[in-house]
Symmetry: C2
Subunit: 382 residues, 2 copies
Amino acid sequence: MIKGVNLGGWLVLEKWMSPQLFAGVAADDEYYLPQDLSETDYQNRIAMHRANFITEADFVRIASMGLDTVRIPVPYFIFGDVQPFIGAIDWLDKAFNWAEAYGLQILIDLHTVPGSQNGFDNGGISGVQNWAQHPDQVAFALSVLHRLAERYGDRSGLYGIEVLNEPATEKMYRNMLDRYPAREPEMTAENAPITFEFLYDFYKTAYEDLRTVLPADKVIMFHDGFDITQWADFFQKNTFENVVLDTHHYLMIAEIETGELTLDSYHKYIEGVGDSIAEVKQFVPVVVGEWTLFNSLATGVDTKGGLNPTQEVFDHEVTVDKDRALKIYQDLWRLQVDQWQRGDGYFFWSYKINIDTINDKDWFGWDSWSLERSVNKGWAEI
Amino acid sequence: MIKGVNLGGWLVLEKWMSPQLFAGVAADDEYYLPQDLSETDYQNRIAMHRANFITEADFVRIASMGLDTVRIPVPYFIFGDVQPFIGAIDWLDKAFNWAEAYGLQILIDLHTVPGSQNGFDNGGISGVQNWAQHPDQVAFALSVLHRLAERYGDRSGLYGIEVLNEPATEKMYRNMLDRYPAREPEMTAENAPITFEFLYDFYKTAYEDLRTVLPADKVIMFHDGFDITQWADFFQKNTFENVVLDTHHYLMIAEIETGELTLDSYHKYIEGVGDSIAEVKQFVPVVVGEWTLFNSLATGVDTKGGLNPTQEVFDHEVTVDKDRALKIYQDLWRLQVDQWQRGDGYFFWSYKINIDTINDKDWFGWDSWSLERSVNKGWAEI
């Protein structure tokens, strides 16, 4: 049973998780940041961000909390071979040494690919999704995975490699188009959803290549493309060694699907997810690789599925009732952990976010995205 | 009884506490950093440092640890009126809002003055000490204190104001000359130790001015100039309301004074300090405003009084015996806290340092300067 946390926002940037990194520029994502900053400004900010956002001290703290594994999102340019982005493999090297020193394991998660697999800001470039249509870029992603496996395959600190984060299939693709407008509309010309047929193929190819390098005790992980019901057949028809299915579940999706902001509706929704996890677990181990405590109920405002203050101005007076929020968070922590244990464990999203909920009231409630803060506030008990 | 921690290295820079901020430049201190960087590089690094090194999340964690007060070192240019330095009053404003939201209090500590009161790197400029010889600069320091009192005097989050950190009197001045060479020797022409006569005068002047603004329930704090035996007469002859004496004690001083690296010698030395605290406490409340767990015994190398890897190359093989280090740290934590409670409490130095003890072996043991890490490693139990 995995008890883990994501180190989101560190080697893959998300503006809402570290707004100060994007101070004074129009960029909403990692793609446009180096276009909007001078070369030295970009270098300074990235160097300072990587050296400060996650450090050795965080690995000490994560281990002291009783967690066993961290999921580290990495970008496709991690090896430093895609201009103008700055490689980050030195930081992943350091993370392996920290993890091994403090008894943690690492799941490397390829979180972005050239042209993007989902058009999210955290997929590298908002509103653009054309990676799967470019065989050369698909091959490039495979080469990054191969190099990661070669570099870390024998490390005791390696739990496994996830070959692709959150490929957006049809339904999520439509959702993405609404939420993430492209800055340059002409770049959307080749946009298309990823099909499950493509995903099945890509995962088999990635698996076959990675297993030539990765020892059998290292996990290879596949994300479910936002539909956990699409995988029972696939894992019955194909034989893999030590593959785990990753599925992501956020309370904001419950809000959109149920149209309600009540504890009851969260319970019904999350228990339904637990049922679907239990079902596919007959054929493959299942880990919930992303989930969180954040929800509109405790925040006191309908965030329309999690739109954040960098995307939407919330024109509201927040009534802070700390005890009520505490109870909601404690309930939703227990609810989710119980359901995820019907599978094979979890990674909370995310360990840290550097927002200021006190001096910028718009961010009230958004600290429930941070496990560090949630534990320190008594909202989460690991 | 104060249970506190310093937020060192945040608004006043110390290279050894955040080496990445000084990456690629010769500067060893805050004075030379803007000379060695372009204007925008300097701005980017400082902005990223301030936004990342200490955040709202740290106030949450500090409160959750059971501490009640933070001591925040501030520079003389905090109001942004000394070029080329960047004012930091906006960050102190944020800190007050964080402290009040999470039930902490703040001791504002004027840590640097123009020309420096001690010639330490953390006094702003290494190897230079001429502030006290310049009446205009003494007046400037008083004006900074006055403005701080006006801005925060009525805040519930204000514990008090310390008028000057670590003025180096004769003995420490000689020590400083050995340890902190000036980058520009011509700047040392007016160097001189601060006399106790000067200090007595300066403190009386500062007190009289600050009390016109600061309510009686806010502390005014005086550092002892590195000699706690010089203050009994002063506090018998003068009447102050709500003044506290600050005294700093480091285990490395015990190492220099006793010439030994044994638990016994630390005990004898620190108990002697406790005696001197108990003595002067008859006349004035006493807080130990700086102390730490770092020591050469647990680190496994004689650091010659705490020379750090940015100052000295330690050419040694460290034998890591975690259990032995754990026992030493736990013993020295208890020893010191017990002695400081013979006075009126303490502020550990410091909450955070951003060094990497795993990937850079030279830093092995230096994480005991961090209360965050010491608590998470079980070395300190508050």
